[in-house]
């Protein structure tokens, strides 16, 4: 489909002319594969001396589904968070323009398109990233330390989520799914007994800091993407989420995203001004992160049984057991 045939092409070209210096129009507009919660469009603004690579992140059909908004922030909020993160030195794609009503293409924002790779299998195996790999864990620590220093008084309204609050939220989901998983029961019980105190100091938390949401080049991390479930919470949650076994893609001995060590992650974090890493909270969030993934797999099984007859969904349902073995290794190690 040519850009002309796409209903958002003309209004988007107008956005480019108004907000990108020297832009005369747009080219190479295409939808990138992305989640159901977001449309992601790649396009170039054309100028007299070349092109400016850009991304439009837009709510599906231009309108964010209110039914999903339990955890996801509004796109305007996402744009604001990216801008705040940039001011404290977190690598992000600079936001060029937040859509307004007069732009006529719904809610969303335009940001720079950063070249690089997000696919874990390539980052973990391709030669191109061989020099970057040993540096990534420390970089992730440094980036998270900065991210967690964003002044809370400058934040847009965000969901506040404590450890015990998240346990109760996932427990409720698990109960609704109504299928017995003794290992999950054990994990919930352990989490309730080991939740960080409610006096834990909370910060801005990215919420989904992991392979897939990091744009990586041969030089290292170039941008932190996908801020849609950012919230105010325990900073240790971000340090743990990237360490859960599913994000290691088989490299089980490289706990940080399959590419690095916790020692490097934590050293980078503390050296860049992060608070002292608390091993007890790190473990709490790793158990909770693993369990969350398991409950999501149960949700897939449930959706399948309720009539979404996708074989893919059905087989993801059978992946709860992967999280069970991870939880058993965390909570009842064999040695």
């Amino acid at each position: 489909m040519g850009a002309e045939a796409n209903p958002i092409a003309a209004p988007l070209a107008e956005v480019a002319r108004k907000h990108i210096d020297g832009a005369t129009g747009i080219a190479a507009l295409k939808r990138l594969s992305g989640g159901a919660s977001q449309e992601i469009w790649s396009f170039d603004a054309t100028t007299s001396d070349g092109t400016v690579p850009l991304i439009l992140r837009r709510a599906p059909g231009g309108v964010r589904d209110a039914g999903r908004s339990g955890t996801a922030v509004a796109l305007e909020t996402e744009a604001k968070l990216i801008q705040l993160a940039e001011t404290v030195g977190v690598p992000v794609p600079p936001v060029r323009h937040v859509l307004t009503e007069e732009d006529g293409i719904g809610q969303g924002f335009v940001m720079d398109r950063i070249p690089g790779e997000t696919l874990a299998r390539k980052i973990l195996r391709d030669d191109e990233f061989a020099e970057a790999r040993p540096k990534l864990a420390r970089q992730c620590g440094e980036i998270l330390a900065k991210l967690h220093t964003v002044d809370k008084s400058t934040l847009p309204p965000l969901r506040v989520s404590t450890g015990s609050g998240e346990v109760e939220q996932y427990l409720q989901t698990y109960r609704q799914l109504d299928y017995p998983h003794p290992v999950f029961e054990l994990a919930f019980r352990w989490l309730r007994d080991n939740a960080p105190p409610d006096t834990t100091e909370l910060t801005l938390v990215h919420g989904d800091f992991r392979n897939g949401n990091l744009m990586i080049g041969p030089d290292g991390v170039r941008a932190v993407l996908d801020w849609e479930i950012a919230h105010v919470g325990d900073p240790m949650a971000d340090l743990s989420w990237i360490c859960i076994n599913p994000w290691r893609f088989g490299n089980i001995d490289m706990p940080v995203g399959g590419f690095g060590t916790r020692e490097d992650l934590f050293a980078g974090y503390e050296a860049a001004g992060g608070c002292k890493v608390d091993p007890a909270r790190i473990k709490f969030w790793e158990v909770l992160g693993t369990l969350k993934w398991g409950v999501m797999c149960m949700g897939m099984a449930s959706a399948f049984l309720q009539g979404d007859r996708s074989v893919e969904r059905a087989t993801i349902g059978r992946r709860s057991s992967e999280t069970e073995v991870d939880l058993m290794r965390l909570l009842a190690p064999l040695k």
Binding site: P182, V183, E185, L186, R189, V311, T315, S321
Partner: protein
């Protein structure tokens, strides 16, 4: 007793058909979903092979742990309740072993290549 071929052999034949004949002729989404379908049949095959004995052993362990009779689902629900209430803990004789045994069986069927499972097998000192 059913006639030959066995259920396992039938599933194997369908999986082979998907992998070796259907998939090479498909593209994009259809090829991806055919691969997923073949993987699903691998699970079915392993469950047919491993499931019956493992299920009998799981049920026997549950009856011992809970000192009562019942169906697999009833006893698993009861086990969940007792773990939730803290009436059974990892210090309770037999619980840790039961959960490990049950979990390793699930993985042997669902995803025997999963890194966490491979590592747990090494740590448990078993070959497979």
């Amino acid at each position: 007793m059913q006639d030959q071929p066995s259920a396992i052999e039938l599933v194997e034949a369908v999986t082979e058909f998907l992998r070796n004949h259907a998939m090479p002729q498909l593209q994009g989404h259809a090829a991806f979903h055919a691969r997923v379908a073949a993987n699903a049949l691998d699970i079915v095959k392993r469950e047919l092979e491993i499931g019956p004995d493992a299920t009998a052993r799981e049920l026997a362990r549950l009856k011992t742990l809970l000192s009562k009779d019942g169906t697999m689902e009833e006893l698993n629900r009861e086990l969940c309740t007792k773990i939730e209430k803290g009436e059974l803990t990892l210090d309770t004789p037999g619980l840790k072993d039961h959960l490990w045994e049950t979990t390793l069986t699930k993985l042997a069927i669902d995803q025997p290549k999963y890194s966490g499972y491979r590592r747990a097998l090494e740590e448990s000192g078993r070959d497979e």
